[in-house]
Amino acid sequence: QGRKIRLGYVSPQTGPLAGFAESDAYNIARFLATDAGRNFDVIVKDSQSNPTRAAEVAKDLIISDGIDLMLVASTPENTNPVATTCEAEGVPCISTKAPWQPWFIGQQGNPGNPESWRPFDFAFHYFWGLEDVIAVFTNMWAQLGTNRQVGGLFPNDADGNAWGDPDNGLRPGLAAAGFTLSDPGRYQNLSDDFTAQINAFRAADAQIVTGVVIPPDFTTFWNQSRQQGFRPKAVTVAKALLFPQSVETLGEAGHNLSSEVWWSPNHPFASSLTGQDARALAEDFTRETGRPWTQPIGFIHSLFEIAADVMGRVDAPEDADKVAAAIAATRLDTMVGRIAWDGAGVPPFAAQNVCKTPLVGGQWRRQADGGFDLVIVDNQTAPAIPAGGTMEALA
C-alpha cells in the first residue's frame, strides 16, 4: 500500500525513569534510516515516568494517531498501563524491559490469586524472568565461599513486590539453590534510612545482599551499611546498578558490586535490520551521543527490529488480529537474541504472551581513571555470551 505503517512508542523520556529512555532518539533515528524503516512512522509519546500519563498517551496514540502497533519499554510502571490500555482497546502491543512476572502478573486483577489470571490477546512481552535472575545470581554467589545467607531489599513497587513475593518471587528459587533469603519487608521508595534492614541482615548473618532497588535508595543503603559496619561479601542488586552513571556516583564503593546483565557490547548478537553486531551498536551510540553504552540500547533497538519483522509479514497492518497473529508467529534473531513467542521456558499461563531473552551476571570493576567497566562474570545460563572474568568478593 501507499501509506506508511504507524508505530506508537511510549517511553519515560522525562522524570525519574528517563535514564531508560536515553537511547530512544538515537535508536529511532537509526531505525527510520534503514530500508525497512522507510515504511514506518514512529510516533513517540512521553509518559513523564507517570503511569496515569502513560495510559493516557497510549490511548491517545490509539485513538487520534490511529497507530497499527504499539511499542513500549522500561519498567512495569511504564509497560503495564500501556499494555493494559492496548489490551482493552484491541491494539497489538510489544513490550520489553521489565521482568515478565511483574508485567504479566502485575496486570492481573488480583495478583494474589493465580486461578484468576488470564492471558492477553494483544499484549506481548519479551524479557527475562525472576527464575533467570535467580539462576544468574545464585550462580554468581556460588563462585564465592559464603554461608549462603541472603538479605533482600524489595521496595513496595511493581518490581519489588514481584521479586519479594514469597511464592512467586526470589525466595523459593533461592531456597532450591541452597540459599536462605531474609526479607525484612517492603519499604517505600526514597526511604532515608535502612538501619532496620541492616540490623535484620546482620541478625541473619547475611553475607550476600540482593534486591531490586532504585539508585538513590541503594546509595543510602550502601553508605549506611559501611558506616554501621555491615560488610557483605557480595552485593548483587538489579536496577540501581544498571547504569554506569549511577555506579560512578558510588566512587570507590562501587567496585565489585554486581548486577544482572541483559545486554552488553560483548553479547554475540547482531541486528536483523542493520547487520551491526552488539559492539558496533554500542560504539556507534557512544560516537553519536558522546555517552557511554547502557543496557537499554540493545533492547530499544530490538523493539524496532521486531516491529519491522512483524509488519513485514502482515498484508493488512490495520487488522489488529492479523498483526497479533504475526507477533505470535515471530521467529527472529535480534540484537538481544532469538525472539519467538513459543512458550519456551515460560509457565503455561504466560506462554502465549511472554518470550524470554538470555540473562547473565556481571560485576562492576573500577578503572584507573575512575570509570567503571561491567565485566561478565557468570554465563552458565547463556554460555554463548562470553564471560570476561570471575566473581570477586567485596573487599
Binding site: G185, Q188, N199, T219, Q245
Partner: protein, 287 residues
C-alpha cells in the same frame, strides 16, 4: 542493642530532617510563607555544589562556601521580586506561586542536568564511622546532626541577639507597625529568604553526599521538612530540631517493626502530635 541502634540512627536521621526544615522554619516563622518549592531549592543547591565541585575541582566543603552566596542572592531576588508580591492573609497565592516555582525548577533542572542521578563525591568520609559504646555511628550522619545544631545555634544568635534578628521578630509580629519603625518588611523578608537559602545550601551538601539526587527528588523531602517545622511549633528552631528527631526516630522504629511502616510511622507521629497539640510542641505565645 538493636533498639538502641535504631533510636540512635533515628536521632541522626532527625538531624538531616531538621537541616531540611530549618530554612523552611525560618521563612514560615517570619512571614507565614508556605514554600512548596523548598525541596526543589535544596536540589538546586545540590546541583550548584556539584557544579562547583566538578568545574572548580574544589572539595564539597569549600564548594558550599561558593554556592551559599549564590543561593543567598537567588533567595533574595526570589523574595523581592516574586514572593513579596503575593504575601498576605490569603495563603493561596503564595501556595500557587511556589508550586509553580517547584515544577518550573524541577523541569529546568531536568533540561539542564538530565534525569541521571548524581551524587556529590565525598570519598574520604562517606563510609567512615566511629564506635560509640556498642554502636557504630557514621561520621557523615554525626556531622549532619552537628551541623543542624550549629546552624540552629547561629540562627538563634542572629534572631535573638542582633538588630537584624530584632527586625525579623518585629516584622513577623506586625509588618505594618514594623514599617512605622522604618523597617521595610519587604527587605527584611528578602534577607530572611536569603538566609534560609544559605541553610538550604548546607542541607543540600548533606543531601547530596548521603544519597543520589535527581531533579525530581525535591518534593519527597518537602513533606518531612514541613512536618518537622509543624511538630516543633512555628518560630521555634529548637522545636524544629526536635520535630526532625521525632520524625527520624518514628521512622526508624517503625521500620524496625516492619519496613512497610517506616514512612507511615513518621506521618502518624506527626498527626498524633497535632492531635494533641494543634500548634506544635513549642508554639510562640502570640499567634
Amino acid at each position: 542493642m538493636i533498639w538502641l541502634d535504631t533510636i540512635a540512627q533515628g536521632i541522626l536521621l532527625g538531624g538531616l530532617y531538621a537541616l531540611f526544615a530549618t530554612g523552611l522554619s525560618l521563612v514560615f516563622g517570619i512571614m507565614r510563607l508556605v514554600n512548596l518549592a523548598h525541596g526543589d531549592l535544596i536540589v538546586l543547591a545540590a546541583y550548584l555544589i556539584l557544579l562547583v565541585v566538578t568545574l572548580l575541582g574544589l572539595s564539597p566543603w569549600l564548594a558550599v562556601l561558593v554556592a551559599a552566596p549564590v543561593m543567598f542572592g537567588l533567595g533574595w531576588m526570589l523574595q523581592r521580586w516574586v514572593l513579596n508580591r503575593v504575601l498576605g492573609p490569603d495563603i493561596l497565592p503564595p501556595l500557587l506561586v511556589t508550586f509553580g516555582l517547584s515544577i518550573a525548577l524541577q523541569n529546568a533542572l531536568l533540561e539542564g542536568f538530565s534525569a541521571d542521578s548524581r551524587r556529590i563525591p565525598n570519598p574520604a568520609l562517606e563510609g567512615a564511622s566511629v564506635a560509640v559504646g556498642p554502636l557504630n555511628l557514621g561520621v557523615m550522619p554525626l556531622l549532619t546532626f552537628g551541623s543542624a545544631v550549629a546552624v540552629i545555634l547561629v540562627l538563634n544568635r542572629i534572631i535573638y541577639a542582633t538588630p537584624l534578628g530584632r527586625a525579623f521578630r518585629a516584622t513577623s509580629d506586625d509588618p505594618v507597625t514594623a514599617g512605622l519603625m522604618g523597617i521595610d518588611p519587604r527587605r527584611i523578608f528578602a534577607l530572611a529568604t536569603g538566609l534560609a537559602m544559605v541553610v538550604v545550601t548546607i542541607a543540600a551538601l548533606y543531601l547530596g553526599t548521603r544519597a543520589n539526587f535527581d531533579p525530581a527528588i525535591g518534593p519527597a523531602r518537602l513533606i518531612y521538612a514541613f512536618q518537622a517545622v509543624i511538630i516543633g511549633g512555628l518560630g521555634s528552631l529548637w522545636g524544629t530540631l526536635i520535630g526532625g528527631v521525632i520524625l527520624g526516630v518514628a521512622q526508624t522504629t517503625g521500620a524496625a517493626l516492619n519496613p512497610e511502616w517506616q514512612i507511615l510511622a513518621g506521618h502518624i507521629a506527626f498527626l498524633a502530635v497535632l492531635l494533641i497539640r494543634p500548634r506544635g510542641l513549642f508554639p510562640r505565645a502570640n499567634d
